[in-house]
Symmetry: C3
Subunit: 160 residues, 3 copies
């Protein structure tokens, strides 16, 4: 009989590069220790899951505005501190390259390979007018009920 | 004999509209699943509980300054991202209206109706010079000890 | 036979004065209730542990830039809200003095005296080029594995 695995859940609310990296580093670490990991992407955090290319979708005006103003995908996120009009993210990316650290897109890829469940918040998608086609592959959809179901069984539950 | 309910605690540290909404959506969800939910409002998070009208209270100079500079109530909060001098919150409120999503004041009302315990951090009140009369009705007062007592029994404990 | 103590872990990701204070107030509270408390300092949170004086260390250009741009130590942190080019932190410090509240350096000292384990994230140190000599005394080093080991046993796990 299989032993029950420890569970970890992470809500990624933030759309900042540094916070998204922290979230994925913890998620990948927990998955490497054979934990069951679920990440919920809500509000600005959803931007980390957007495809880089423009996906033509019929939208209302406000939804178009949001789609246009928010960063499209993991490569476009800014920093929570020292963003300096994009210089900060460049510096961080340079220093990460120098140290052979994984980029955010690589961290996301690794999470998927390790079986981390990526759940996009349906309420946010609805509000900001983001459709499933605009998100990277391998993402599930869920709401607050799905989150609570997992978190109640989680040993570690973080809001980032 | 009543089964013991699952407990959820949320510290709302942030005074941002989007983060406050996320906190109340989770809290209301957990309460709907019959969990015992406690929300602690500390630092800027306390602003979500302020009454909209000015309440005349005797205060020192610094406390007056804080009271004057900080947003008065759930309707006045800004966004953590894309605030754009108030345009962001207006866009979010418009898009929420369009989608029939509950506003923050409505989410707070629902939390109270569902029995979510709202606790204002006494240390913050003391520091920033906010009195109980300036807070909306139905709010309890408590400190870090009250929080730890609840959180130690909580299955889900978030800091937002 | 000693009863097993409750455990609390806090990740301090933020380099903001207000968030660092909140983290240490919770940590000190939990330690006062005889809990085993571990704080992990990652990304900007590491700045709270930097020594105030300049420590001469051989560094690459990017690492020097980060070291120069980031606040050096607990006394230099800004606020997450209402920083107003340094006026906010001054106001907060004034109001804290008036109310005899502990400063952040005092909260850190108290945490150390109470046996709170302070762990600096090695990945962040590596990335930003911060060495152990540049951190205050009494800090351990650890990575995501150390965090997960503690957090899996923690009753309260927060990300701040």
């Amino acid at each position: 009989m299989a032993e029950k695995k420890d569970k970890t859940t992470i809500i990624l609310f933030s759309g900042d590069l540094d916070k998204a990296m922290a979230a994925f580093i913890i998620a990948n670490g927990a998955a490497a220790y054979d934990q069951e990991v679920t990440m919920f992407f809500t509000f600005w955090g959803l931007n980390a899951l957007r495809k880089e290319e423009h996906v033509p979708v019929q939208k209302g005006f406000l939804e178009k505005m949001f789609g246009w103003m928010m960063p499209r995908g993991a490569n476009k996120l800014g920093l929570s501190k020292m963003n300096m009009a994009g210089l900060g993210p460049k510096m961080i990316k340079n220093v990460m390259k120098k140290h052979n650290a994984l980029t955010l897109p690589q961290l996301i890829e690794m999470a998927k390979e390790q079986g981390v469940k990526l759940v996009a918040c349906t309420m946010t998608m609805d509000l900001l007018g983001i459709t499933k086609e605009e998100l990277i592959d391998g993402v599930e959809l869920g709401g607050v009920a799905a989150y609570l179901g997992d978190a109640t069984e989680g040993k570690v539950n973080l809001f980032i």
